[in-house]
Amino acid sequence: PHFIISINDRSDAICFNIDGKPGAILNVVTDPSTDFVVNGELIGEKKIEKNVKMNTYFGKFGIVNTQMGVKVEVSTKMITVFHGVEKIIFPWSSTASLTKESFSISIVKEKNLTLTMGDDATFVIVLHRVWKNHPLHRDFLGFYTLDSHRLSNRTHGLLGQFYREVNAEIYNIRPGLDQGKPDATMIVKGHKLRVTRGYQKDYRLDPKRGTNIPCWFVHYNGKGFIDGIPTDYVVTSLF
């Protein structure tokens, strides 16, 4: 999956990829203060070809708010809401919303769902439907944070660590290896990194074609930009 992070008061963006194995579960957000966790499970293509870099995507998300007693599992097939002992399963084929004082879920059929946890956070999960007979690709999900201002400073995870404003200094913009993709040097979190100008897609408005977001690409699984290495974010279960 690819990640896009706004920097410098949303004036620019950093992007990076995380390569993982299908079936691996990555921690996306963890806030120990509010007991809020988002984990995502990776899926691969339908066929695995030798000697070709394998792309992975998020196929399932698990969202837990222990304080509210809410767990939500979102897969490309359905959305399951666990609230206390109650379990409600929504198919992606229906437009629906479920509201409680503390949280709400709103599903736009075959498109996206918006999850609001009280005043704490609002997220959007976008469903990417692929032609079901496509030989290679399969349905996958995208995760977007609309609002995280009430999550604590202790929030971490592949995305969560960037909920605090990231200050990055970009300088020494120079021609890169690919024509039209300049390289630059970025200083962030005390590291000096080589970054390459490119585009990544934001699929919130147009889930089919996406909107191009210009960003500075951090190579090698976001090395130096993310805390630690990708395997630090691997967890054992969705919840």
Partner: protein
């Protein structure tokens, strides 16, 4: 060589004077709305005139829409008229010493339609009856019941049921209790996706009880049970010819806890079997309660007794204690219905005040009685008022009338005024199962305060769109007219409450596409949505009429009559008049729809049948007035 001859019903020299040559029952079901046509062809092979009967049983929930008989190539068609008009016509006929055909309640689920006609020698008559009904989802399935009883072998016997359900058919089972194991293969059942076809065409040989006898095995119920695919969505909306129908029964919902007060009559009239059966059923019902539910038990004769004075959670220990108590209930004394019902309401009120019950839960009072109030407040109207005022819309009241002597009207009105329903419990060996069956229907509430919202200016004359509860295994149906001719999309929002949250489900249907899908299906009869809407509207208005005050009652009556006449439905306010030929004079008969209010009698003779009697031994008919 010997010529092989097809065996017929005339073989062995037992030539039948009146031969039921063919009987065809054809049903087309689209979106749960069933349109059934029964055609019966009778030949008179005798050298004298004979009287042929056409007698069938149809579901009580069905409305007869058409009847005709064709004699000597002339077809006599029934006309639906206002009941009073039909009755006058009928009385004139009676005063002339002529006979009348009619419909009678028959057993628990069916009513009997019977008519006879005199047919000349070597002549034939063709009877054709059409009825329509909206199949109701009950404990997770729609059930279509066809009662079969031709009483003799039929050259061409055929049942054909075509089902089209746009949501897709989840399962379909056919059960015919008259078929022995080796004959079940005669029933052909083809189900694929949205369509199903059930066909049953037994040959003469297959109809015989034994190889050379004339008795038929065709005697019993042919039952088709099915359900459609469903998920947690706003349901299915179909649109045909400017009318829409919306079916709603989402899957994957958690049950909402319930609080039940059982109000049990143990007056003297309950003594014996009824009391034993009640004890047995209550033990089973208590055993089936969810541990999150709460319950209370009030027993009454001319006095009342609340078990341990309060409501209990259905924990294992409490249920064991309660079972011991219900086993010990014995019959004695008179019948005071008012006080225990008001006490049940107070018990629930107090439990809510004391925060003993979950905030979001369904509270209900289930009254079981076998008689009339004759102790304490005995005026039924005042009891109804007292219960209505006390419950104040907060609690559902379900009334179960046990046996033949209940005042069903009184119970029905009391239930309907308090968001509940009334049911008869038939005095029979399976009474405990009937009680449990009713309890199962309301045992698992899934949604509260369900509201269907459609664009205000785009639709009109919608059927009921607000419902207090949705129970597991049932279904809500809303139908209406689309008045905006330029409407591209019909959007339906369903707003409801689950155990913990508020739920909104939305469906959006492209009008032109929806029309196309249904029109492409060969199974439907074109105006089914409109007829379904009319059927549902009439059913709901008839129910509303039960508890309406004078002015409103008149308006409701007028509207029901208008719709019944327009759509040719034999309801409890209309009758079907058929003039039948009898030698040189015309004979009128009137078909009425009986109401549940009628005194229940045990069924003695039932089925699709054809009988014979001498023309001089006319059957004696009595006029059944349902109102």
């Amino acid at each position: 060589g010997r010529t092989l001859k097809k065996r017929s019903i005339e073989e062995h020299g037992k030539k039948m004077d009146l031969e039921l040559h063919a009987m065809k029952i054809e049903s087309k079901v689209t979106s749960r709305f069933a349109h059934t046509v029964v055609i019966s062809q009778v030949l008179n092979r005798a050298n004298v005139s004979k009287e042929a009967f056409f007698e069938i049983e149809l579901p009580k929930t069905a409305f007869i829409t058409n009847f005709s008989m064709t004699l000597d190539g002339v077809t006599y068609v029934g006309v639906v008229k206002e009941k009073e008009v039909a009755q006058k016509q009928y009385q004139q006929a009676v005063s002339r010493g002529q006979t009348a055909g009619l419909v009678k309640a028959s057993g628990r689920k069916m009513e009997k339609f019977k008519v006879s006609v005199n047919i000349g020698t070597k002549k034939k008559v063709i009877f054709e009856l059409t009825y329509e009904e909206l199949l109701k989802r009950h404990l997770g399935a729609y059930e279509m019941q066809i009662r079969v009883k031709p009483q003799q072998l039929v050259n061409h016997f055929q049942i054909d049921v075509h089902i089209f359900e746009p949501q897709g058919i989840a399962f379909l089972n056919v059960d015919a209790n008259f078929l022995t194991n080796n004959l079940t293969s005669i029933v052909k059942n083809t189900t694929s996706g949205t369509k199903a076809h059930v066909s049953f065409k037994p040959t003469l040989q297959q109809q015989r009880k034994c190889p050379d006898c004339h008795e038929t095995i065709l005697d019993g119920d042919f039952i088709i049970k099915y359900d459609v695919n469903r998920d947690l969505s706003a349901g299915s909306v179909q649109i045909v010819n400017g009318y829409f129908v919306h079916h709603f029964a989402p899957a994957n919902l958690a049950r909402i806890p319930k609080n039940v007060i059982f109000v049990i009559d143990h007056s003297g009239s309950m003594s014996g079997t009824k009391m034993h059966q009640t004890n047995e059923a209550l033990v089973k019902i208590l055993g089936d309660m969810d541990t999150k539910d709460h319950f209370g038990i009030i027993i009454f004769d001319d006095t009342i007794d609340t078990w341990k004075g309060t409501i209990f959670q259905a924990t294992l220990e409490n249920v064991i204690e309660a079972k011991k108590f219900v086993k010990s209930i014995s019959a004695r004394g008179g019948t005071n219905i008012n006080d225990p019902m008001v006490s049940a309401v107070r018990l629930l009120d107090k439990a809510y005040q004391d925060k003993q019950l979950p905030e979001r839960s369904v509270s209900m009072i289930i009254l079981l009685t076998d008689g009339h109030p004759n102790s304490g407040e005995s005026d039924p109207t005042r009891i109804q008022q007292n219960v209505k005022n006390a419950a104040n819309g907060k609690y559902n009241v379900y009334c179960l009338g046990f046996g033949y002597d209940v005042n069903y009207n009184f119970l029905e009105k009391m239930a309907l005024e308090n968001n509940g329903v009334a049911r008869r419990i038939y005095e029979d060996s399976d009474a405990p199962l009937q009680l449990q069956g009713f309890y199962d229907e309301v045992a698992n509430p899934l949604l509260l305060d369900i509201e269907f919202q459609y664009p205000e200016n785009a639709i009109s004359e919608s059927t009921q769109a607000n419902f207090k509860h949705l129970f597991a295994g049932s279904e809500i149906v809303v139908a209406g007219k689309i008045v905006d001719n330029s409407l591209d999309y019909l959007r339906a929002d369903v707003v409801a409450k689950t155990a913990n949250e508020n739920l909104t489900l939305q469906a959006e249907v492209k009008v032109s596409e929806a029309e196309n899908i249904t029109q492409q299906q060969q199974y439907i009869f074109g105006d089914f949505t409109e007829r379904l809407w009319a059927y549902l509207t009439i059913q709901q208005l008839l129910e509303k009429r039960i508890s309406a005050e004078t002015d409103e009652k008149k308006n409701l009556t007028d509207r029901i009559l208008e719709l019944s006449l327009k759509y040719s439905f034999v309801t409890t306010l209309t009758s079907m008049v058929v003039t039948k030929p009898e030698e040189n004079k015309n004979n009128t008969f009137v078909a009425d729809k009986p109401s549940e209010d009628e005194k229940v009698t045990r069924p003695s003779f039932s089925g699709y049948s054809m009988g014979v009697s001498s023309r001089f031994q006319r059957p004696v008919y009595s006029y059944v007035d349902s109102d």
